[in-house]
Subunit: 248 residues, 2 copies
DNA sequence: CAGACGCGTTAACTTGGGTTATTGGTCGCG
DNA sequence: CGCGACCAATAACCCAAGTTAACGCGTCTG
């Protein structure tokens, strides 16, 4: 196949949006070609309540959608990993329901919503993939709401790590080898609804129990996936099937 | 306009799915005509993890999507009110991400997912409304995750009542008059992630403060919407615009 | 009609996790 | 190089919400 500008061997992004149809791939490449931009640091792309004209497609690095309450506390609603298409629209479609923020350095495409919708209508295989992504996002949010509402801090954190581990490694459950988790303990706390202090307490306890280790600031090694999965109250294979959209 | 079998004056359901196009309305009526069924009591229509072939459309009464954890604790993920279309699919599309359960007596249509998708492709105005509904659901879940992760019990309960009040009254913010809230305190607790005891404590306190009253078991009268909205940390008009899809 | 059940209500006691504060390490930058 | 910013780590204290238990009421049902 033609080597599209956004394609990269072994990269989740390329695997997701290779639709096995040269025409659709070309249309996709054309859609995002002009729109790639670099990001670094924490950078707000969209504010909740502001007019919303774009969908966001991270190519490298992660995005997050978040909401901030009047006291300044922030809740992360979902992460978008490379290949995910993130539409922050609220019920009115014209305004955003949540903030969109970058995490560290990366590249992303901002695609005008209308262009994106035309692309979906023209390419049913792309529409199918987007529908699977949307269903996956719903399943993830449901799963996380269960943890948020009913589970202990340990379970919430174990679940979050499992989810992000599965999403960051869509091709297999590789343990004993570091995977990159570009979130500080503060951010992890904003994701699971705990203070950063309690995140720290809990992760240290998990490390002491031999479940996982940090290699440097942002790389995690899972030593004992069965125990981690038990803490998270999930079955890894099953969770993968429900929250990871099958590509192409 | 022709009086379709599902149409009913002043009913939210009819307002949502009157697409202002006779052909689309007829196709819609045809789609659900054969599939209406009555429900009563708590009744499980779909189990998480089971094969999922239908989307659910309540016509009278509410549905809920929920997840149950290994200890038997339940978290309600979202409610579906008359006119909402509820697709419980997970990432794989073939299995359900959550349980679907009825609340009390009502009527609903179970539409095979494929038929529903064909209908959306054939009728862009319906697809547009469905997209707005999906965006509204996302906005609601984001808003609720913020409360679930970061807010006090009082705020969560006030928010839940505001959300359901707005959704149950899509045509205006009518206070001082009872509206029907077909959920017990137990269920409300499962919605906001609190024990039923704490839900009771909090609602009694709100009643003592003159914010709202119960008329009978399931009908609520809001006396002081500004205070309730302040407790919920929202602006009612703004919230309405972000979580209620505009009809037709 | 009597029993059982579900629901609302309240009280007494316990605990998980928030809050605040302090220390030390590491990175980026003037 | 030294400063400031950010982050991990840990301790001490406290409170919001969970848990358990008990009682009353309405309603379904055998």
């Amino acid at each position: 196949m033609e080597h599209a500008p956004w394609s990269q061997k072994g990269h989740p992004f390329a695997a997701y949006w290779n639709l096995g149809c040269a025409e659709a791939n070309a249309a996709f490449a054309h859609l995002i070609k002009q729109l790639l931009r670099e990001t670094r640091g924490r950078c707000v792309l969209q504010l909740a309540g502001d007019p919303s004209a774009y969908v966001f497609l991270p190519v490298e690095g992660w995005l997050m959608t978040a909401k901030v309450d009047p006291d300044g506390a922030r809740q992360i609603v979902d992460f978008a990993l490379p290949g995910d298409v993130l539409d922050p629209a609220s019920a009115s479609m014209a305004y955003a329901a949540a903030d969109v923020v970058t995490l560290g350095r990366g590249r992303l495409a901002m695609i005008p919503r209308e262009g994106w919708q035309r692309y979906l209508v023209a390419h049913p295989s792309a529409a199918g993939l987007f529908a699977r992504q949307s269903a996956a996002r719903y399943a993830r949010m449901a799963e996380r709401m269960l943890r948020l509402g009913k589970s202990s801090g340990e379970t919430r954190i174990a679940y979050a790590i499992c989810e992000l581990f599965l999403r960051a490694n869509p091709f297999g459950l590789v343990t004993h080898t570091p995977f990159h988790l570009p979130v500080t303990q503060q951010v992890l706390g904003e994701f699971v609804g705990l203070s950063s202090v309690h995140v720290n307490r809990t992760i240290r306890a998990m490390a002491r129990a031999g479940v996982l280790t940090y290699r440097g600031q942002l790389d995690v090694v899972i030593h004992d996936l069965p125990t981690l999965a038990a803490m998270a109250q999930i079955d890894p294979t099953e969770l993968q099937a429900t929250i990871i959209p099958s590509p192409g």
